[in-house]
């Protein structure tokens, strides 16, 4: 946020909200834009807020004045003129609204909307395809073999064509700091533009009620410097790091023999399940369970061994593993960078 | 008292006809049925709109494997149904003129033709079900639902006429004259909808 717009937003927030606003920032805040599209929407919001505040205070002011003048009839100066009354109704009820609404319509729907609509074909440099599933995000990079989940990387300052699809119920892809939301509907392919101003980490969440764990269907978008992005993508394209230690080899055996491989894919092994996320590079991700818990040893252990406690109702069953099997499996999973 | 009638006291055909003549505005019962027709028309409108919505979504309509419907028999049947509006209209005229016998006869005539229509339509419906199913495609779903909705309205119309005929066995009263007018409006609506429904049903073949 530029210094000028930050100052303005703080000023307006303070004026209007009397200190109630707990800062405009936040990882998922629409008022902390990091792209041209989100900034246009945020600016539109601030102008609309100013206009709305003026109208609201004006109307409330009239009512307060009515209380002050409750002993007298009619208007000050004009007296009991029915014509002035009707004139007021026509002016403030018809004429002024018509003018302001036309202005709003032109600015918002003809100007700003051009940027937030689906990007024109050929106007973007790359494509990322996201398939929403109950309750995680499957991420593909068409033209490469890279498949990951819940964590999207894009190069900063690049127009990215984000393709939004689903095969189960309706979801909605929403990264407020980068753009508006776009629904994912079975049978339809929607597209949205992601164009981050600078490298950073942006939180997103499913924004269409999709069942039991809609609340925990989050994801993260990393905008990387181009070099770092290319390295990341190359890493994601590769098959899994083959296990080198005995523990990890045993861990891979556990994975393939237990129910895991029925739902998950690890490229480079025979595990090709499609029910849950691709785990080929699971240890490279910063979060787990749809951005519900951080991806560290303790949380990974909890997620794998007692998934219904972390995200009740999700489709991963609790496994019946011995302590040794669990230790080896977790060791293996943590090695899948 | 201003020459205003107590219409409920009109318990003979002649008195009812007199009350009808003196009345300047549509009676409440007729307004009620008119509004019922409006809401049912909105329902049909919605189902018809859904048909076209699903159709424009589809690459092929009907989908592969289903033949477009035959045109001749449904159109003929609908023509017959629409023509029953004539005896129904004449029945209302007769009722308003205290001609109980004519009213009964005309309603009975209409009922018999309409029942015949329904019988043949049910046979066609069952025949179609043997060829393609509403459980296979959206086309089947909307096709059978649209037709089923229409046939249900015909059944209701027949029951209304039946009830009316039973009441007319006891002669005409103000209440029953309004009843004839109300049932007539319902049937004009059903017949009008029949045209829209059959044209939609047959649209892939037209």
């Amino acid at each position: 946020m530029s210094a000028q717009s930050r100052a303005r937003s703080l000023l307006v927030a303070g004026l209007v909200l009397g200190g109630g606003l707990v800062g405009c920032g936040g990882d998922q805040s629409a008022l902390d834009p990091e792209s041209g599209q989100s900034r246009a929407i945020a600016d539109l919001w601030w102008w609309m807020l100013i206009a709305a505040t003026i109208v609201f205070l004006g109307a409330v002011g009239l009512l307060l004045l009515a209380w002050v003048r409750r002993g007298s009839e009619g208007f000050p100066f004009f007296g009991k003129s029915e014509r002035v009354s009707v004139g007021l109704v026509l002016t403030f009820g018809i004429f002024i609204p018509i003018v302001s609404l036309i202005a709003l319509f032109v600015v918002a729907n003809l100007s700003v909307a051009e940027g937030t609509d689906a990007p024109e074909k050929g106007s973007t440099s790359m494509t990322v395809e996201v398939v929403a599933r109950q309750w995680f995000w499957e991420v593909h990079y068409p033209g490469t073999g890279a498949v990951t989940a819940n964590e999207i990387h894009i190069p900063a300052r690049t127009r990215v064509n984000l393709v939004a699809k689903t095969d189960d119920v309706i979801h909605s892809f929403w990264v407020p700091r980068l753009n508006r939301k776009i629904d994912m509907i079975p049978g339809r392919t929607n597209r949205i533009l992601l164009d981050a101003d600078r490298p950073g980490r942006y939180r997103g969440q499913c924004a269409e009620f999709c069942g039991l764990q809609h609340a925990h269907m989050g994801f993260v978008v990393f905008a990387d410097p181009p070099g770092r992005f290319r390295a990341w993508l190359a890493g994601q394209e590769r098959d899994r790091r083959a296990p080198t230690t005995p523990e990890r080899k045993r861990g891979e055996r556990v994975f393939l023999d237990e129910a895991c491989s029925g739902c998950h894919t690890i490229r480079g092994t025979s595990a090709a399940g499609r029910v849950g996320p691709d785990l080929t590079h699971v240890a490279s991700r910063t979060t787990l369970a749809g951005n519900t818990i951080p991806n560290d040893g303790r949380y990974l252990r909890q997620w794998v061994l007692d998934p219904q406690h972390v995200k009740p109702g999700n489709k991963m069953p609790a496994l019946d593993l011995s302590k040794a099997e669990a230790r080896d499996l977790l060791d293996y999973l943590e090695s899948l960078r | 008292m201003n020459g205003v009638t107590r219409s409920s006291e009109a318990t003979s055909a002649i008195a009812a006809a007199y009350a009808e003549r003196r009345r300047r505005a549509m009676p409440s019962g007729v307004w009620g049925v008119a509004l019922l027709v409006a809401t049912e028309a909105a329902l049909f409108g919605t189902v018809l709109a859904s048909y076209y919505y699903l159709r424009f979504d589809a690459a092929r309509w009907p989908p592969a494997g289903i033949e477009p419907p035959d045109v001749a028999l449904p159109l003929a049947l609908t023509g017959a149904l629409v023509l029953t509006s004539v005896p129904v209209l004449l029945a209302t005229v007769a009722a308003r003129r205290a001609q109980v016998g004519s009213a009964r006869g005309l309603l009975l005539l209409a009922l018999l033709v309409q029942a015949g229509y329904l019988a043949v339509q049910i046979l066609l419906f069952k025949r179609d079900l043997g060829v393609f199913s509403p459980r296979d495609t959206a086309y089947g779903s909307i096709y059978f639902t649209l037709l089923g909705l229409h046939h249900l309205h015909v059944v209701v119309g027949l029951l209304l006429e039946l009830g009316l005929l039973v009441k007319l066995l006891g002669g005409l009263t103000n209440y029953r004259v309004i009843g004839v007018r109300a049932v007539a409006i319902y049937w004009y609506f059903v017949n009008f909808m029949a045209v829209l429904v059959v044209l939609t049903q047959l649209s892939p073949s037209l």
Binding site: A52, R70, D168, I170, F209, A215 | V4, S8, S141
Partner: protein, 634 residues
């Protein structure tokens, strides 16, 4: 108006008392066709559902008081927020507006003795009660609907929600729709045909204009919902394919059909509130409404334009740009009739001499919240802004300001305003004012922060939220607000309940009201008016000459219509007297028909198709029996 009748007048009053006597006891209430009794039945049933919806709201807010509160499990939460929406929209706000306020007041305001179809009026109530109980049985069996009040497919399809909660929802709402449709038809015919001779359309109170508009809107808005729900049930129970993509269906068909109903529905929710506001304002500011014809026209236009804007609920779906632009433009147009009414009310209040009693306070609260909700509504017509904030708490804030702040506040004010008329007693004014301030503050504190937390990225319909996104304090505040709001509402009920028993007794017209109902006794007798009232303006009570003419008519026994259960019927536009109607009185048919239909819906729910058909036949027989009794036999 004489409070002690002369002997001549008394003879007529006694005769009317005898003819219109209501039966006592439970039987009397089960068989009543009197619009006032039916209005009270609706009132108590809707208040019970309001309490249920309120408890659901408090459960939601308590679950969201802090992150990971653990008060409700995810599936319980989903059932609670779904039922909260369904209850408040279908089982509270519509029935109380139309069934309670409309039923009780419209015949009184137009100078009639009952609604056009008294038995169908009773039927509407029993169907409403049945549909509400039907849906709640599902909830109590642990099978409540849980896919949200707008129940999108494919989530609500059999594949993704196999449990029967959705079937309770779909069948329950179809059942509920029959009740509301019947009520709407009744209001239209009543307002068209049963106005007192002389009350031409331009002399009808604005309250009645609002109810006429709302009834027409319902007649056309409910069928798309019925179709959508029927398609859903056919998909779920019989394996049809309206909504599934694999077989040529389309999930968006549900959204279009639902919102073609759903958008008019929100104007349907607010229109009766407009009607109540336009009754309370003139009385308490002692001035006629500014620009009366414009306000009447605006009320009708709101209902009409509301049908053309539905896809503004679908801006994030990916519709064609031209489609989205059309719907945004149409949505902006609705602002005009709302603005006309708003400024008419404000100007009337400003140029009158207001008495700030509790009913007027609630109307002022209504105006403030309506402006706030209306302004955020306008913001949603800015498509990119909508696409950023739809499905977030910003929209939850918006619709609660308009549905609760704007639609419910006039209802609360209306309780206070008409309490003396219905009960013959006055409520406690001091407690009334306190209840207003508590409710107003509670509403503001609960819903205003939702704008902020929505802009900070909090989506709606989530059972908990992470502690590190800056949402925690605001959620906490909102939940505290909801407890304050609850306390305010409880105080209103307590005030009225205690005043019912111990309030000061009042006469016909404690407020100096402007409409006809204030000329009747408090409470009105079963026959409402002993003579057909003479009406020459929409402010019938302020035309003293006309009211004195009524008194003279009573003396002379003119236009008392005391040969039976009689009320006049007039022509639609100019209300020229056309005939005298004999109205039905007590009947068992409405309750019986409602029971038969409840059985049909229950059998459909259970999948017993043949038995459902059998009960339909029973219903048809009851309907035939209903029409066996003709007015002259009453």
């Amino acid at each position: 108006m004489a409070t002690v009748a002369t002997p001549a007048a008394q003879r007529h009053l006694d005769r009317l008392e005898r003819i219109w006597a209501e039966r006592e006891g439970l039987t009397g209430w089960l068989t009543t066709t009197d619009h006032k009794r039916i209005g009270l039945l609706y009132l108590f049933a809707s208040l019970a559902f309001f309490a249920a919806g309120g408890v659901e709201a408090l459960l939601i807010r308590t679950q969201l008081l802090v992150p990971n509160a653990g008060v409700l499990s995810p599936d319980a939460y989903n059932e609670v927020f779904t039922m909260h929406g369904v209850t408040m929209v279908f089982l509270f706000v519509i029935p109380i507006s139309i069934g309670a306020f409309g039923n009780y007041l419209v015949p009184l305001m137009i100078g009639a003795r009952d609604m056009a179809f008294p038995r169908m009026n009773a039927l509407s109530f029993w169907l409403f009660l049945g549909s509400g109980l039907f849906m709640y049985v599902g909830l109590f069996l642990g099978n409540g609907p849980d896919a949200g009040w707008f129940d999108y497919v494919p989530l609500a399809s059999k594949q993704f929600t196999p449990s029967s909660g959705i079937d309770f929802y779909a069948l329950g709402l179809i059942f509920n729709g029959v009740s509301t449709t019947a009520a709407s038809i009744n209001f239209i015919v009543t307002i068209f045909k049963l106005r007192a001779p002389g009350m031409s359309l331009n002399r009808m109170p604005l309250f009645c204009y609002a109810f006429l508009a709302v009834s027409f809107a319902l007649v056309f808005a409910l069928p798309p919902l019925t179709a959508a729900l029927s398609f859903l049930e056919l998909d779920r129970r019989l394996g049809f394919h309206f909504y599934d993509v694999a077989s040529g269906g389309d999930p968006l068909l549900w959204q279009h059909l639902f919102w073609i109903f759903g958008h008019p529905e929100v104007y349907i929710i607010i229109l009766p509130a407009f009607g109540i506001a336009t009754s309370i304002i003139p009385t308490f500011v002692r001035r006629k409404m500014v620009a009366f014809p414009l306000v009447a026209l605006a009320e009708i236009l709101v209902a009409f334009i509301g049908f053309g804007v539905w896809a503004h609920h679908m801006f994030a779906v990916g519709l064609a740009t031209i489609t989205t632009i059309y719907f945004a433009a149409a949505s902006l147009i609705i602002v005009i009739p709302s603005g006309i009414q708003l400024f008419a009310w404000i100007t009337t209040i400003f140029t009158g001499t207001p008495r700030f009693k509790t009913p007027l306070l609630f109307i002022l609260g209504f105006i403030v919240f309506f402006i706030m909700g209306g302004l955020t509504g306008i913001m949603f017509a800015a498509i990119p802004f909508d696409q950023q904030t739809t499905d977030t708490y910003f929209v939850v804030a918006h619709f609660h300001f308009v549905i609760f702040g704007a639609a419910v506040f006039p209802i609360l004010g209306g309780f206070y305003y008409w309490f003396p008329k219905v009960t013959g007693r006055m409520y406690h004014e001091g407690v009334g004012k306190l209840s207003f301030w508590l409710t107003f503050a509670g509403t503001a504190v609960t819903f205003f922060p939702m704008h902020i937390v929505g802009l900070l990225g909090m989506p709606r319909r989530q059972y908990t939220y992470p502690p590190d996104l800056g949402w925690s304090f605001l959620n906490f505040l909102e939940s505290i607000g909801s407890y304050v709001l609850g306390a305010g509402l409880v105080l209103i009920v307590a005030n009225l309940a205690v005043s019912l028993l111990r309030g000061e007794r009042v006469g016909n017209d404690p407020w100096g009201g402007d409409t006809l109902e204030w000329s009747a006794t408090s409470p009105p007798p079963a026959y409402n008016y002993p003579v057909i009232p003479r009406v020459t303006s929409p402010y019938a009570m302020w035309d003293r000459d006309d009211r004195q003419a009524d008194a003279r008519r009573l003396e002379r026994g003119e236009l008392t219509l005391e040969r039976g259960h009689e009320t006049p019927a007039s022509t639609v536009l100019d209300a020229e007297w056309d005939e005298i109607l004999e109205m039905p009185s007590h009947s068992w048919m409405p309750v019986l028909l409602a029971a038969a239909l409840a059985a049909v819906f229950t059998m459909l729910l259970l999948g017993h198709w043949v038995t459902a058909g059998a009960f339909s036949a029973v219903a048809a027989l009851v309907l035939f029996g209903w029409h066996m009794q003709e007015p002259q036999e009453a």
